[in-house]
């Protein structure tokens, strides 16, 4: 009788140990997948960079010169011109 109960207890313990092992493995796999998704490794970075490198080769390069802001405008004179009756020294016209 004692031997039978001991065998039953051992089988129960074996089943629990097996279930714990399977559960631990499942949890480890789940956590590993979660970690891989939230902290991408080297392979993911390389995949992201490759298309941007291709884009850099084909896009028109921006001017390297620091062109003044497009909002800049031709500046007005400090004093506007006035009408004159004097003989002109020169003519401003097309050339």
């Amino acid at each position: 009788m004692q031997t039978h109960e001991r065998d039953l207890g051992l089988r129960r313990l074996k089943r629990i140990t097996l279930l714990c092992g399977v559960g631990a493995g499942t949890l480890a796999a789940a956590f590993a997948g979660l970690a891989a998704r939230s902290l991408p490794g080297k392979h993911t970075v390389a995949t992201v960079r490759r298309p941007s490198q291709v884009q850099n080769r084909t896009a028109t390069p921006p001017p390297l010169v620091p062109v003044q802001a497009a909002s800049a405008a031709p500046a007005a004179p400090s004093a506007p011109p006035v009408a004159s009756s004097a003989p002109p020294v020169v003519v401003s016209g097309g050339s």
């Binding site: 390297l64 500046a75 020294v89 401003s92 050339s95």
Partner: protein, 300 residues
Amino acid sequence: MTVSFPALGTTATLSVVDPERVTEARAALEHELSLVDAACSRFRGDSELARVNAASGRRVAIGAYLAEALHAALRAAAMTSGLVDPTVGRSLRLAGYDATFQLVRARDGATFRPQFERAAGWGSIELDDAQRTVRLPPGVELDLGATAKAFAADRAACAAADAAGCGVLVSLGGDIAVAGDGPAGGWPIGVGDDHAAGSDCCIAVETGGVATSSITVRRWRAGDAELHHVIDPRTGRSADTRWRTVTVAAASCLDANIAATAALLLDDAAPGWLAARALPARLVARDGTVERSTGWPEAA
């Protein structure tokens, strides 16, 4: 005292307040003219610009003068949203302006067949200030006609005034800059369609510059059509505009010239664009009617 002489395929005029200092002022002007011609001429095979245009996509080392002139051209493009674009060189050449204007005018244009190609756009120019190099994509050609003369006039006026120690006026084909203390009442300047012809009115300026853009000059025959040198970079064709001549006064000759050329290309939008920038301007329509922006004297 005023002297005039041929330069840059047009006329250079120098006026000085003190006639005894004209020699020094003229030497300074001629030095500036030699610099701009060697750097920016599209028709001199040995110019820096010709070398850049022929580089077929290679990076080219350039001198300080061309670097500054390119800055001025890029600034013009930025200020006008690309209307005044230095990459119209190829468009001009294909349209027939492919040699000095004396040669273009002299040839028989009846059999010439122009091609029209829009400009590549100023964003395609790679100017490296640190290395002082420039690179154009293959097929892109520069023309600095819209800015280089005015840029040179501003520089020459400052250099001549420094050398002479008195007020000077410099005109390069009607692109006018003044520097130093001018005559009482300002420099009297005529305004018209053609700098080499008579003027329609006269203004006086004390500072800055005055420039005129006109479609009545530098015209050539191309088959059945007549073309002119103000190219619209969006189409590669001579600008189709209601204005025949626009004159602008600004803080510098360069700014005046940029605004005058942009106004021609802006067509109906020109008066509003000029007014928004408080630029005194005189606009002559094709039918001869005159509009003046705020700041331009009513009597002129």
